[in-house]
Amino acid sequence: MTFTSPTDARVQQHIAAHRERPGALLPLLHALQDDFGFIPESALAPIAGALSQTVAEVAGVVSFYHHFRRTPPGDAVLQLCRAEACQAAGARALEAHVKQRLGVDYHQTSADGAVTLEPVYCLGNCACGPSVRIGDRVYGRVSPERADQLLDDLQTQVVEVRG
């Protein structure tokens, strides 16, 4: 996944595109994260100014939602479903395997910078779990072996150098 480096000008573009919408903050934060991969600290003050809110209010919204992150992720984000239907199909074993293989816990990035591991509570693929999501793609019936294949693909891709 390729993200843009955050710049003040770019932040302003997003603000301008969304500020007039009712309930603008969530769509705006989504736009920023889709573009940069995270919500940069430097964006909070200009957003607060544009929406007549305090920086604390904006920061409070960012921190409330699990989806938004305040630090850059790895090259790929792997969301692993922890919810009950996937548990019933073996998600606890998958979770242990993936954590061990990547050497990370949830919300952390593997040492090679390739994969950030995040928990997710339901991808709606509950009849064919355990499920994981990488980018916008969902994978079903993910055994530890299948997870290894997916991770092999992610970890052997050329690491892009961020400017």
Partner: protein, 522 residues
């Protein structure tokens, strides 16, 4: 030789579960084969029929109807083609026969889901050919009060979980007087084990659009929002595409179906917060705030989005409306039993042999659902517990599986149907771990506004850990019961108020798993 002359179309689903099992790879392989034919049949990317254990399920249109094959892997394709897949030949082991005759499908009563999986979800002409927009056309000719009356008479109750009568909610908004009103669709389908909303949005998106426009006409709202969970990227893509086409076709916009009345629709994304499935937290989130639960009253029907009267309905409630308007409230109410009218959309999930969507009239028993449709566990091990109604629903032991699927019958046994998720667990499950997870999930997802939920959930995890570690188990079990009572009675919304239900179902029905030494974790 493959000729393809006997049929005109081949269907490969484009829906999250089918895609998660490789449907795109199969479509791409088939596409390459078709490219070599002189008169290639058309490759259609349809939705899913919701028979998930058969996905990816390919269908071939023949003179004798559609023939299904599944579950198909890319490795199966050469053999299938050789056996005459493109002619609809039926002697391959993966052939399931005519799609409509697959018992799992044939034995359902699909009112809301009559169209899913049949066609390209974005084809307006296919939607119209399947009876789509007939309900809207009837609604356009009715007065707002008459539309509300039809929904009230149908007996439809909110399918999100709370089962509040939809007609009464609409009446309240209609009666709220003039001025800006809103229709908000709750598409934050957060319950584990549920995917019915997703299927509507991915496989029959115009159905939801039609239901929302009818709701708008009924209560006098000119704007609608679909609050969609960010975990559903394909639904987002499809809804946006469908809205664009519906605007072009005049079903949305300034002049709905030439009625002179306006209705605009927009999809908004959530951001990974289970609590935003609670209607007042959803409204706060839609307004760009933290998703904090509001104190009721005022009801959203009086003061909802931006303080204006707002209908907040689940996807399935809105998706049931076009049928009611098209066929009449009596036709819908003719299904079901007692105060549970119409159909229940059950979703079979977890450790299940035949997982998928099952739409049935209310009243069949849970056992019929999990055995006759589900076929028991996928692992083949004995079934131990069934969680119905998502993470806030009770775990039911075998002694309760003969309970009829009906809102009141479930409430009587301390359970709830909720959004219809049915998750099966085999006997390898550690129910003590499941009780702990219920509290852990609440601690992660609590909005933090009320103390019983915010603090109680964390204390709940600690107390369960102590019980399982053998620290004064009897005293701590009593403390856990006390904590559950406090959360039930003192929480602001269902998050804290119902998290104890799965916990108490474990202490009542699976007490052995909570006993010291039962812990198998770590």
């Amino acid at each position: 030789m493959m000729s393809g002359k006997a049929m005109t179309r081949i269907y490969v689903p484009s829906e999250t579960t089918a895609l998660s099992l490789g449907a795109d790879e199969i479509a791409s392989d088939i596409s390459a084969v078709l490219a070599s034919l002189e008169q290639p049949p058309e490759l259609v990317r349809n939705g899913s029929r919701g028979l998930f254990w058969l996905e990816p399920m390919i269908e071939v249109e023949t003179g004798a109807g559609r023939i299904a094959y599944g579950p198909v892997t890319p490795e199966d394709l050469p053999g299938l083609l050789e056996a005459g897949l493109l002619e609809g030949a039926q002697d391959h082991p993966l052939c399931l026969g005519p799609t409509e005759e697959i018992p799992y499908l044939a034995q359902q009563q699909r009112l809301t889901f009559s169209r899913i999986g049949v066609a390209d979800p974005l084809s307006l002409s296919a939607y119209e050919a399947g009876g789509g927009f007939a309900g809207l056309r009837r609604a356009v000719a009715l007065s707002p009060q008459a539309i509300v009356q039809q929904v009230t008479e149908s007996g439809l109750r909110g399918r999100g979980g709370a089962a509040f009568p939809t007609g009464i909610k609409w009446q309240t908004v209609l009666d709220a007087g003039a001025g800006q009103k809103y229709i908000v669709c709750n598409a934050d389908e957060g319950d584990s084990g549920t995917f019915a909303d997703r299927l509507v949005m991915e496989c029959d998106p115009y159905l939801l659009i039609e239901g929302m426009v009818i709701a708008g006409l009924a209560v006098g709202a000119t704007e609608g929002y679909i609050y969609l969970r960010s975990e559903y990227p394909l639904a987002l893509h499809r809804l946006n595409a469908a809205i664009e086409r519906a605007v072009e076709a005049g079903y949305l916009g300034a002049d709905v179906c030439g009625s002179g009345r306006a209705f605009a629709l927009e999809v908004r994304l959530g951001a990974g917060a289970y609590i935003c499935g609670e209607e007042t937290a959803l409204l706060d989130s839609l307004e760009g705030k933290r998703g904090m639960v509001r104190v009721k009253p005022p009801l959203p029907a009086i003061e909802g989005f931006l303080g204006r009267p707002t209908v907040v309905n689940n996807v399935l409630s809105l998706a049931a409306v076009p049928y009611i308007l098209e066929r009449g409230p009596e036709a819908y109410a003719a299904c079901g039993q007692g105060r549970s009218r119409g159909t229940l959309t059950a979703q079979l999930a977890g450790n299940v042999e035949r997982g998928g969507l099952v739409e049935l009239a209310f009243g069949v028993t849970l056992r019929q659902l999990i055995e006759d449709f589900g076929g028991g566990t996928l692992s083949g091990r004995p079934l131990k517990a069934v969680q119905v109604g998502g993470p806030l629903g009770a775990y039911l032991p075998e002694s309760l599986w003969d309970t009829p699927l009906d809102y009141e019958a479930f409430a009587e046994v301390g359970a709830m149907l909720g959004h219809g998720g049915v998750v099966l667990f085999d006997d390898s499950v550690d129910m003590g771990e499941q009780a702990r997870f219920a509290m852990e999930f609440c601690a992660v997802e609590s909005c933090g506004k009320c103390t019983p939920c915010r603090i109680g959930s964390t204390r709940g995890v600690e107390v369960i850990d102590r019980i399982r570690a053998g620290e004064s188990p009897e005293a701590n079990l009593e403390l856990l019961e006390d904590l559950c009572t406090t959360m039930i009675d003192g929480s602001l919304c269902a998050m804290g108020g119902m998290t104890p239900f799965p916990v108490q179902s474990v202490t009542r029905h699976f007490a052995d798993d909570l006993a010291p030494g039962a812990a198998r974790r770590d």
